[in-house]
């Protein structure tokens, strides 16, 4: 169970790292892009920033969900 959880964790971590990295690099090297207002009069800085916070909440919920499923359905490996 541990190794499966940590594998899921690493996949989700990588996804988040890429999205967070995108935000940081965009801010550092093309800050003017952050001023565009693509949706509902909100600029990219706010959309992306809120996206990162809400995304973290969603991914953590997903992780909790995936881990729980596993521990209920497969007990082949000894528990820690």
């Amino acid at each position: 169970m541990q190794s499966r959880n940590s594998k899921i964790g690493l996949v989700l971590f990588t996804i988040y790292l890429i999205v967070y990295g995108g935000f940081v690099f965009l801010n550092a090297f093309a800050p003017e892009r952050m001023e565009a207002t693509p949706i509902a009069g909100l600029n990219l800085a706010i959309l992306y920033g809120f996206g990162l916070i809400i995304g973290a909440i969603v991914l953590s919920g997903l992780y909790g969900f995936l881990c729980r499923e596993k521990s209920g359905s497969n007990n082949k490996e000894p528990r820690a």
Partner: protein, 669 residues
């Protein structure tokens, strides 16, 4: 601004402190063993532990600092919110479960789980102390800063008060009481922030000419330069005034050809016009903005505010002695909109999305300041208006800390990347956060409590943007104290809410400081004395030593809080993140994912990470300016940018890998 004693805040605060201490003493009867003192017997329910994560993590820097930064500069403070939250992703996906599996009381246990090495305990214990002390200083100074306006007490009283309460909380029941204090604080902070945000949205926006004391700032558009140069006693729409000084040398505008003396004003970066009323002799200061940058034709004038510190220590506000009696003056509160979209003057309630889309198209009156040094050593701070389009307020790069991202210098951009990396990697390396994994019963509880932590902390950080921007347009801001933005915003809504928010801000300090002191006590009693120095202690003695360590660390924190009183120390939190990430993260990650890690590898990585990040920080422009008081233009810093993370975190990993590979072979042979 002068703040009056708020009895309501005193009542709220007393209730909270009384309740907390009562709870601590009650819980203290049960927590006698070291298992109880350091890890609350591992019996904290995961949901409570999750909220306690929020209570532990959301320090005064998060609540007061970020709100204040957003209120004065806009979006930039939110970058910290994003980085602070992103760090939890590392904690959840990488660290949480193994941390619970491998450790017992401190994160050094987890690092040492394979080796049983006093060296690892020594290195990790020292790094815990270094990080925790950095983190403690701004919290303690913050306690003193808060207590002055709220309870009308001296700075040192606030520091001693917080220190004493926290020592009592920690000594009575260690982790048990600390957890419940943090749980309570986390709940209240998120709940009241949500209420405040709801009220901000209900209030909507309104165009104003001044803050909520009713004072309307004057402005004069298109004033002819000739009007300023001749001495007929009329400037723009103001009759009966003489020009004392105007413009500055760099601007190439009038200085010596007007009456009176410039006395330092000619050196200002911004152009100011000083006018003296012929009857009252009162001097008003105006910010002068040319209509045409190249020709001396006409200008726009907006009223500024000044605070002058005389050589004898007296303080003048807008030219009058500071005070609230007739003939005295205090700074007018600020924070208002100059215009709304479509020429509207008021919006009524707005939705959470409209809040931003309306602000995006409005004009906001922000304030900047400049210091003028006079010949007699007096110093004047001029606060002047800067009318800023909403689209600029809601974009990154307006605050001095972040303005480098809009510049051309590559090192400024690297500095930004480095800061965001340190925030990302730092959270999961903070000792006071990591010890919270030992308070729950198993790995799945560790995971669940981290998820609860992320949800509550994430929700809070979303609210920081509303609270900060709400404060920016609340008409309640104090120019001389940006830490008070959130409490003053609450005051502009309702005095009971102000009392509640102030008391919560204060308890925010309590929650975080108790976590830090507990982490330090664990490092001293468990890692250093118990393991590194091999002092044999039975369980009772260990608890006693830990309690004694808490008192000593608490006393040191009080002393540092008083010592650093006059320094703006919020940047120390950033240092703590950098040092934690550089010293602790490489070992924490590698012990989980790389079987070839050796004892020597871990010890060297911690030492190299800690020494290199600290050294880098102490040689940086930030330290030159803020600690040694040097002018970086005259004495350039030794390192090319201030934030060490981007260099020292990889250095930590590299050290660990290289040393492990070298020592592994020797061991095998």
């Amino acid at each position: 601004m002068i703040h009056e004693l708020s009895w309501k805040a005193v009542i709220f605060f007393s209730i909270f402190v009384g309740f907390t201490l009562g709870l601590s003493f009650w819980l203290g009867r049960k927590a006698k063993s070291s298992e109880g003192f350091f890890a609350a017997h591992g019996q904290i329910p995961w949901f409570v532990n999750g909220i306690a994560f929020a209570g532990d993590y959301l320090s005064a820097a998060s609540f007061l600092g970020i709100c204040g930064m957003i209120a004065f500069y806009g979006y930039d403070g939110f970058l910290y919110s994003i980085g602070y939250l992103a760090g939890w992703i590392v904690a959840l996906f990488v660290i949480a479960e193994p941390m619970k599996r491998l450790g017992r009381f401190t994160f050094a246990d987890a690092l040492d789980s394979k080796f049983n090495s006093p060296g690892i305990k020594l290195a990790a214990g020292i790094s815990t102390l270094a990080v925790s002390i950095f983190y403690l200083i701004p919290q303690m100074v913050g306690a003193g800063v808060l207590v002055q306006p709220l309870l009308a007490l001296d700075h040192w009283v606030g520091v001693v008060l917080v220190g004493t309460v926290v020592i009592l909380i920690v000594v009575t029941a260690g982790m048990v009481s600390t957890t419940w204090v943090q749980f309570l604080k986390g709940t209240l902070l998120v709940f009241f922030s949500a209420i405040l945000t709801w009220m901000i949205l209900q209030k909507g926006f309104k165009v104003e000419k001044g803050g909520n004391d009713g004072y309307q700032f004057r402005s004069m558009a298109n004033v002819d330069f000739a009007d300023i140069k001749n001495s007929d006693g009329i400037v723009g729409s103001l009759p009966n005034v003489d020009v004392v000084s105007s413009g500055n040398k760099t601007d190439g505008f009038i200085t010596s050809d007007v009456t009176g003396t410039a006395d330092g004003w000619e050196k200002s970066k911004e152009a100011f016009l000083r006018l003296q009323d012929r009857t009252t002799r009162a001097i008003t200061v105006w910010h002068l903005k040319r209509r045409n940058a190249k020709a001396d034709t006409s200008c726009d004038l907006t009223e500024a505010q000044t605070v002058t510190k005389l050589a004898n220590g007296d303080i003048l506000v807008n030219g009058l002695p500071r005070g609230t009696r007739p003939g005295q003056a205090v700074l007018h509160p600020i924070g208002f909109l100059k215009s709304l979209p479509d020429g509207k003057t008021e919006t009524g309630p707005v939705s959470p999305i409209e809040f931003f889309s309306i602000l995006q198209q409005s004009e906001i009156v922000l304030w900047r300041n400049e210091k003028i040094l006079h010949a007699d050593k007096a110093e004047t701070t001029v606060y002047y208006q800067k009318i800023t389009p909403g689209s600029q307020v809601l974009r990154p790069g307006e605050n001095p800390i972040f303005k480098g991202i809009r510049g051309e210098k590559f090192s400024d951009k690297i500095n930004f990347l480095s800061l965001m990396l340190a925030l990302f990697c730092g959270t999961a390396s903070l000792p006071h956060i990591l010890i919270r994994y030992y308070t729950v019963k198993d790995e799945s509880s560790a995971r669940r409590s981290t998820i609860v932590g992320i949800v509550s902390i994430g929700l809070f950080y979303v609210l920081t943007l509303y609270m900060g921007l709400g404060a920016m347009t609340s008409g309640a801001l104090d120019l001389s104290n940006d830490n008070m933005a959130a409490p003053l915003l609450a005051k502009s809504m309702n005095t009971w809410l102000f009392a509640a928010i102030s008391a919560i801000a204060f308890t925010t300090v309590l929650g975080t400081v108790s976590g830090l002191i507990l982490a330090s006590a664990g490092a001293v009693a468990h890692d250093l004395l118990g393991s590194a120095f091999g002092i044999q202690m039975n369980d009772d003695e260990k608890v006693r030593v830990a309690k004694l360590s808490s008192v000593v660390v608490g006393a040191i924190a009080i002393a540092l809080g008083i010592l650093f009183k006059d320094m703006n120390v919020s940047f120390l939190v950033g240092w703590a993140f950098s040092v934690a990430a550089s010293a602790n993260l490489p070992s924490l990650v590698m012990i989980l994912f790389w079987p070839r890690v050796t004892r020597q590898g871990i010890i060297t990585a911690i030492v190299v990470g800690m020494v290199s990040s600290l050294g880098w920080i102490l040689l940086s422009a930030e330290a030159f300016e803020k600690i040694y008081g040097l002018d970086v233009l005259k004495t350039p810093a030794i390192v090319p940018f201030s934030q060490p993370g981007i260099v020292t975190i990889p250095l930590g990993f590299l050290t660990l890998v290289v040393v492990s590979l070298m020592t592994k072979r020797r061991k095998e042979s």
